[in-house]
């Protein structure tokens, strides 16, 4: 059956847009739309990658595009302030260092296993677990945590 390009929607869009919104929602709805559409196109155009399922490939592309966007965006001044106990949970998630946020969202929101998520990020499962633990420690309301650093994302995802 011929699909109507106006009303049909890629079945991957919903879940991916949810993840993109969690990862980059602060950048605005259009950024989320662009990331979602860009990841679908990039994943479809990418030739088969050894050991990656289509779903892992899709999330890898989304994360890669978002890292590129994050590097291009000027850092916000408020990022230098430490997170505090009373701060809203959503803000705490938003302000997690990107690598830690990706890891936690892959597990908590996208429900990836550690192994799948590590493959999507192209890192060792042990390193992935470290990131999840770090993210949770930062979200833990017990203590103020250090300001997020600005890692070299491109080094980590090809």
């Amino acid at each position: 059956m011929v699909e109507d390009p106006v009303t049909s929607i890629d079945p991957r869009t919903g879940e991916l847009a949810r993840f993109a919104g969690a990862l980059a929602g602060a950048a605005g709805a259009w950024a989320v739309d662009e990331l979602t559409a860009g990841a679908i196109v990039a994943a479809d155009e990418t030739t088969e990658q050894a050991g990656l399922t289509p779903r892992e490939r899709l999330y890898r592309e989304l994360i890669r595009l978002n890292r590129r966007r994050a590097l291009a965006a000027p850092p916000k001044r408020e990022d230098d302030a430490p997170l505090r106990r009373a701060e809203d949970f959503a803000r705490r998630v938003e302000r997690l260092p990107l690598e830690d946020k990706e890891a936690l969202l892959l597990v908590a929101l996208a429900r990836f296993s550690y192994e799948e998520a590590a493959r999507a990020l192209d890192i060792a499962p042990r390193m992935f677990a470290e990131r999840v633990m770090r993210a949770r420690a930062r979200l833990d309301c017990g203590q103020p945590v250090a300001p997020p650093r600005r890692p070299n994302y491109l080094r980590l995802v090809k």
Partner: protein
């Protein structure tokens, strides 16, 4: 038995084999202070899932759906490789040919009966087929702009200075705050029909007297798309659980920059 932090996190995320999971659960039962921490991590996972709207919020509305409903989790069958897509296309083409053939045979039988029973065929009445485009928030914003924006006396129901404006919009549309637009002043607001529930229609006026409408309604179905109609363009986006459309008789670039100030 040694239980490391890593085991506890793996326990929360369902990563442990059953035997190890039981060991950790037993270990935690004897250490309530650690169990509290572990429960907090589990709560974090749940809180994260609650924070972001479910995937279904991005699906097209039933009236315009052309694909079968997707499960909340993406299935691998959704990720078709080019070869699988090609096979699917071939299957679709075959199905279409079969449907067309069945339709033609049916039509031929009906026609043959008509010819046999009626001595003279009346000319068939002309049938007009109307195609109805599904209207989105951008189209509604353009329509509302045309209806109200330039009304000299009643463009809005409640003027910007009225202290009841915010509460009224909140009650009627769920909009918690009246967005501020840099470079434009708020004229006032009214309530207009939305896709599902009432929408907030906020009217702004720029320094050069251009009137711009912002229509905000609860998010529904697929993310909204921008539109234009004649001299009016509308930029649409989704944010914070609402669909927004900014419409006015100005260039798209200027609409974009105004939308930026609203956090699109």
């Amino acid at each position: 038995m040694t239980i490391a932090d890593r085991d506890l996190h793996a326990f929360v995320d369902g990563e442990l084999p059953e035997a190890r999971r039981r060991e950790v659960a037993q270990w935690l039962a004897e250490r309530p202070e650690v169990a509290v921490r572990v429960a907090a991590w589990r709560s974090q996972n749940e809180a994260i899932r609650r924070l972001f709207p479910p995937a279904s919020a991005f699906r097209p509305q039933p009236a315009v759906r052309t694909l079968p409903p997707a499960e909340d989790a993406i299935r691998d069958s959704d990720f078709r490789t080019p070869a699988r897509r090609q096979r699917q296309r071939s299957a679709n083409a075959t199905a279409m040919v079969m449907i067309a053939a069945a339709f033609a045979i049916g039509a031929a039988i009906v026609l043959a009966r008509e010819i046999a029973t009626a001595p003279r065929l009346e000319p068939a009445p002309a049938v007009a087929v109307a195609t109805v485009e599904p209207a989105g928030v951008a189209q509604r914003a353009i329509a509302a702009w045309r209806a109200y924006a330039n009304d000299p006396t009643h463009a809005v129901e409640i003027a910007a200075g009225d202290p009841s404006l915010g509460e009224w919009l909140m009650k009627r549309t769920g909009l918690a705050r009246t967005p501020e637009m840099a470079g434009a002043r708020l004229v006032g607001a009214r309530v207009t029909p939305g896709a599902d529930r009432p929408a907030a229609f906020l009217l702004y006026e720029t320094g050069d007297r251009a009137r711009i409408a912002l229509v905000v309604e609860p998010a529904l179905g697929a993310p909204p798309t921008s539109a234009s109609g004649g001299e009016i363009a509308a930029r649409a986006w989704r944010a914070d659980g609402f669909d927004h459309a900014l419409a006015g008789p100005i260039s798209r670039a200027r609409l974009d920059s105004l939308a930026e100030t609203l956090g699109r």
